[in-house]
Subunit: 232 residues, 4 copies
């Protein structure tokens, strides 16, 4: 069995599960999520995988759980940050709590997770941090008063880390999800949208995995994942 | 005396004082800052001006003090958000507290301040919100792991607000400060830099004031302030 | 009478005429345009102004006419580049001639005009080059296969010049026109659009003039002009 | 033997040769370049490959040669646009001919090549256009008065095409080359730069090939290729 360790933070039935499965092909995977209902089930199906309860919005939880992962499984080679949150409302309708929670889950959680895994990556002179971002990170829109600033902070932090950690052999990359992910709840919301208008989680996971396979003479930082029919 | 009210948040000896003075030409100015040592002195020199103690990092403080401003002086016509903070360190060296504080001062403080003044601006169908931003809002750099994400969140929030509030007659604009502001502490740090390499606070304040004078057929959202000799 | 000279390239009944008039307040204005029907009339109304026939798409014409301006009126202090063109079509429908002409008018014309005026500006250690750009310079859209690349080249050239010429005291600035300019032909095309949804040329010209008045401690490079109701 | 056809425009000893070889793994490759010295040799080593003389700066040459490719080999499934040029000089030192030639090679050549291959791709409802771009496309710098505007026009055209052609099943993608490519002439110029500071053409070619393998639920448009030690 491989001795490469991957930690995926944020395990839902869409991207999270697909990312865990794809990285499970060549890593032992630690799945971190608030509820372990799904991740425990997935862990049962994947050799060497484990599920951990972790609240990405809680700095101590992120730090402690990643320490437990390192103790239980070994130092993390690949961190996939998939935690996200999405209140869509204007500055007038969004609450201070919404604004703060979006930042905690999208930006601060990444900050604490990265700080937990960087030291062992630096020791090895290698490592991957892949972040699942969003188009909202590039610009604010009327109804993204909480979500866009949180994703913008995430993207900016990712870029700061990519520049700082690259020369140490640690590849930080960001996927800009620009479209609707194929999920039961997105299907329900848009019943008339054709299949091909949705991002398939397995395809997104393949892009994430590809980023970690890039040779270091030609790394990418920011890569979109967008259905071919998407208007942008 | 004018009955236009301007609230400036963040009063230091550089941009803050200059902004208060410039807007004092045609507004009664409320100066909000943690310490009122300087702002009280300034208030004594400006007709109709008042100084308020306010911690931009504290949501309740921002909300309460702006409510007091409205009671004492009347509804705010122009909000100038100049609160900022700048820890410069990489992801490895910056603390979780630094990361959070930068976000609180630069992004969350703006969020709460804007929410406090928007309702009366909407009632009037007019108002100005000018934010003093930074180049760091556009990209992360190795040593801006805390500062850049905070400024990116601020810029994204500003853009979300600008798009949402524009049609209601409220002009949200962002000044990208791209250079060293002329201050005793920046002069000390770079004693050999010529005068003209620093941004003069009065010039920055003039740009901020100009943004609030723009006719609404031709509003700007994002405007740089950069010394002519700056490398960029 | 002022001895400041301004050359405005591209004189139509909207922005061109408004720019000429606004800069005519404190400059003697040379108006360069293919047809001199309008510019001759304007020149008759403005003290010290002159009209010149010039095709912005023709390098020799731009170079020769600006040499004539310098001989007739003196070295140019302020160049306003307002020449533009707008074929809207996809890659499939736009012709090679359209693609080339858009580049000639928007990008190459600016290149040759700038080269003509830079030497005397450098000698004085001062000067202004203001370019009337467009949102299309920031991104390509399906129907801007000719226009967007031309405006992107213009913006990129403007940025290269701004960085190179700034330290020599020459201020290069770009206005991003993001909306419909108020013109008989735009009004006809959108008869139901309210007045306030159009950019008033006089307001745009004021922004251009303001850019040339900025003190050099706080120059802007890129500034939008957008109606407050615009969706963006 | 595969019946997939790939046309690579711009064949030098670095990226061009590597791209031809990589796409040669699963395509019959048409190599288009001004000189056929290298491409003829490569064609001799690759099953089904052919070399064509073509000047990317000449619209008729591009159009005619791609028509010949279609006649000789069949309709093009994948177009790789690698033609480029790089005069580095400021607005003061670059000539009008340099400015025009950079645009012809980088932007107009892509325009004409795309127009030549799009009709048959649309008929199939599938196709790939991969463009080898550069960081200069994102911003102008003092010494890129010719190169940056040409690359900006190229990037803008690529984006316009990507948005227009995506729904027709044609994937347009852009690689931002952000670093020095490993070539005899770049090695000579920087003899002290370590191996790992150069982009290996084979790694860049792999990224280009990967873009053409992306499932259409998760396409990328813009992807950087950057050595891990690069400062950016």
């Amino acid at each position: 069995m491989t001795d490469k360790i991957c930690a995926v933070i944020g395990i839902g039935p869409g991207n999270g599960a697909a990312l865990a499965r794809r990285f499970g092909d060549d890593h032992r995977v630690a799945m971190l999520s608030r509820s372990t209902d799904l991740s425990s089930k997935l862990a049962g199906e994947m050799a060497g995988a484990r599920a951990y309860a972790c609240d990405a919005a809680d700095a101590a939880s992120v730090t402690d759980v990643l320490a437990a992962v390192a103790r239980d499984m070994g130092p993390v080679d690949t961190l996939v940050y998939n935690a996200g949150s999405g209140v869509f409302a204007s500055i007038e309708d969004v609450s201070g709590d919404d604004f703060e929670r979006a930042w905690r889950v999208n930006a601060a959680g990444l900050f604490h997770a990265a700080k937990a895994v960087i030291p062992s990556m630096k020791q090895k002179g290698a490592g991957n941090i892949v972040i699942i971002g969003a188009t909202a990170s590039r610009r604010g829109a009327p109804m993204t008063a909480a979500f866009a600033p949180a994703k913008a902070a995430q993207r900016s932090l990712a870029e700061s880390m990519a520049k700082h950690l690259g020369p140490a052999g640690i590849h930080v990359a960001l996927i800009i999800v620009d479209g609707m992910v194929d999920l039961p709840r997105t299907r329900e919301r848009m019943p008339d949208k054709p299949d091909e208008a949705f991002i398939r989680p397995a395809d997104l996971a393949e892009a994430a995995h590809w980023l970690t396979r890039q040779p270091r003479s030609a790394w990418s930082f920011e890569v979109e994942a967008r259905p071919f029919v998407e208007k942008w």
